[in-house]
């Protein structure tokens, strides 16, 4: 089974809802947190399926707990040039709208009131969730001329868009016509970006095999680390580990996860802490509020759990001992 896209929803009680896009279908799996004294365990359950919801491969999907519609929603975009909004718990499609071009990525805005999607020619559009039924694709809110949008994040009054022409653009949101900064320097397409919880730093991965650390306020490059010398290496930042300075990075087609420490005061701001070998190739992941790192692999539906708290404490102790 090949997973095209995955989305997560963290619930207050520690449960995690996963939505997997497998070709034209969507599969919903819930991981229920079971805490017995000191032990933590998860119980997995398939809570729904939406088979053949699209007529072509699904490129991206995104989950949301919408307070407006009082439902858990999933929005999906596909090569069939449609964007669909569906209800997760009843696994029914609510609305479907046409796009002019194939869309590559879809995300909910931070306040969950808008859906932002981008297509393969670099146009980014916005839909208000409560007016989804009346939506018609018209003028884009952001344009990356003739580039494919590879990642999109909307957080804290800003919207971050990265494209296949090595550019990362930081624009205001919702006034996307005012660009705050560009983060320029990658030599190949930007694969994915992750942002620290304080919205001060950005780490980007790229087809040039490096990860780069940027300061959001100025767009300046703080540090760059080449992870793989081969020409076809693609680095994929997975997640920023909550309020800490640790980030998890994956390399395409490599069965490992790398943990880096971000230290802005140091001269070498990105420092590799450890490489953990896995038996699958991670392509996506999530950090829970318990500081657990979940990794999703592209070849299998295997999830692996890491105790990050313990690792962090060990590292901090080591550093303190050295000092």
């Amino acid at each position: 089974m090949f997973i095209n896209a995955v989305s997560f929803l963290k619930e207050e009680n520690g449960d995690i809802l996963f939505a997997f896009a497998i070709n034209k279908d969507i599969l919903f799996i819930k991981a229920q947190l079971i805490k017995k004294e000191e032990e933590k365990n998860y119980h997995f359950e398939v809570i729904g399926k939406m088979l053949e919801i699209h007529n072509d491969n699904i490129n991206s999907l995104t989950l949301s707990k919408s307070s407006i519609l009082q439902k858990i929603l999933i929005c999906s975009v596909s090569d069939d040039k449609t964007i669909k909004l569906s209800d997760v718990l009843t696994t029914t499609e609510l609305y479907s709208k046409k796009c002019f071009k194939r869309s590559s990525i879809v995300k909910f805005s931070q306040n969950q009131n808008e859906i932002i999607y981008a297509n393969k020619v670099g146009e980014v559009y916005k839909i208000e969730v409560e007016n989804f039924d009346k939506y018609e694709e018209q003028e884009p809110i952001i344009g990356h001329c003739a580039s494919m949008i590879t990642d999109l994040i909307q957080v804290s009054g800003l919207i971050f868009t990265s494209d296949s022409d090595e550019k990362i653009r930081i624009s205001r949101y919702p006034h996307t016509f005012e660009i705050e900064n560009f983060c320029l320097g990658h030599k190949q397409f930007v694969s994915k970006i992750i942002i620290d919880p304080k919205v001060e730093l950005l780490v980007s991965g790229s087809g040039d095999g490096s990860i780069k650390l940027w300061r959001i306020r100025t767009g300046e490059l703080l540090d760059s680390v080449k992870l793989d010398e081969s020409e076809t290496a693609v680095t994929i930042p997975i997640a920023w580990i909550n309020e800490s300075n640790y980030i998890a990075i994956a390399i395409e087609n490599k069965k490992e996860i790398l943990i880096f420490k971000v230290e802005i005061e140091a001269s070498r701001k990105l420092r590799e802490i450890e490489r953990i070998n896995l038996n699958f190739e991670p392509t996506d992941g999530i950090i829970t509020s318990e500081n657990d790192l979940w990794l999703i692999g592209s070849n299998k539906t295997l999830q692996q759990q890491l105790e990050e708290n313990q690792n962090q404490n060990q590292n901090q102790n080591q550093n303190q001992n050295q000092n």
Binding site: E123, E139, P140, I142, G143, C145, A146, S147, S156, G157, L158, D165, E166, K167, R169, S171, R172, H175, T176, F177, E178, I179, E180, N181, F182, L184, G185, H186, K187, V199, G219, L221
Partner: protein, 284 residues
């Protein structure tokens, strides 16, 4: 550079060169005498007018970020060993689609403390302008003004895709779009250089109160540009009264080959100039 053009001319038929021999176009900038040169530059009609900016090519000359733009080779006078002033001038004016460089040559003496760059997607046109600037600089050196035309240069680039890689935020005080390709067909409208999405990038490279100049002889394109820029929240129209005192306007109208062509055929020129509104600080 010189030998490439000479070889090109050799490859063309001798008929072409005889029939289309041109006087050196630098005579206009000289004002006084007409200088007839023995070596002819490549005839205009051999350089194609149309180019699709949406093609995927990233030319090697395109920098990956503004710090990588090679200023030393483009402005050797200011970045060479003889320039002893501590403050180097910066690129503050950009001619998008500079064609054969007419505007660059006209602007050069007006802004002696600023650097001006022409951006052009057609490599043959870029070669032509490089040749032209080189000759003008040599003339200046020979006549005792070594700084003449040292503040203009040209680069091959695709501005629709890569403009922010050249300039930092707010670097430019002026940006020119003279007689842009109209792309008449509706399906080609997305190739037009002025569009709502690109205006955000132009606003990004322009300083507060920076000016955007547009001129065209195609009324439909003029309406398109005026509508799109006027509606954009970051631009406001500069009135004709304010333009009367702007020394750049006569150059915008008359300096380029395109402008002269339009004048010869008694066409109308539609000018539209806009100011980039000052940025409001943003707390997020």
């Amino acid at each position: 550079m010189a030998t490439n053009i000479q070889e090109d001319i050799k490859n063309n038929s001798i008929e072409d060169i005889k029939n289309n021999s041109i006087e050196d176009i630098n005579q206009d900038s000289d004002n006084s005498k007409q200088i007839q040169r023995k070596r002819k530059l490549k005839p205009f009609h051999k350089i194609t007018t149309h180019r699709n900016p949406l093609n995927d090519n990233r030319f090697p000359e395109i920098p990956f970020c503004p710090g990588e733009l090679d200023l030393v080779s483009r402005y050797p006078y200011y970045f060479g060993p003889n320039y002893t002033e501590p403050l180097k001038p910066k690129i503050e004016l950009a001619d998008i689609g500079c064609g054969f460089g007419g505007l660059l040559v006209g602007l050069s003496p007006l802004f002696p403390n600023k650097l001006i760059i022409g951006m052009e997607i057609r490599d043959k046109a870029v070669e032509y302008v490089q040749e032209r600037i080189q000759k003008l600089r040599e003339q200046g050196i020979n006549s005792g003004s070594p700084s003449q035309y040292q503040n203009i240069s040209v680069t091959r680039s695709n501005c629709m895709k890569y403009l922010p890689t050249y300039f930092v935020k707010g670097q430019l005080c002026k940006i020119f779009f003279l007689f842009p390709d109209p792309h008449f067909k509706r399906s080609n409208h997305r190739r037009r250089i002025i569009s709502t999405t690109l205006l955000a990038e132009y606003a990004y490279v322009l300083a507060d109160n920076g000016i955007i100049y547009t001129i065209t002889d195609v009324h439909d394109l003029h309406t398109w540009m005026v509508t799109h820029i006027s509606v954009h929240p970051l631009f406001e129209r500069v009135t004709d009264e304010e333009l009367e005192s702007d020394p750049v306007i006569p150059l915008v109208r008359n300096c380029t080959e395109e402008g002269k062509k339009v004048a010869k055929s008694n066409g109308s020129k539609f000018l539209a100039v806009f100011r980039r509104k000052p940025r409001i600080p943003y707390n997020y």
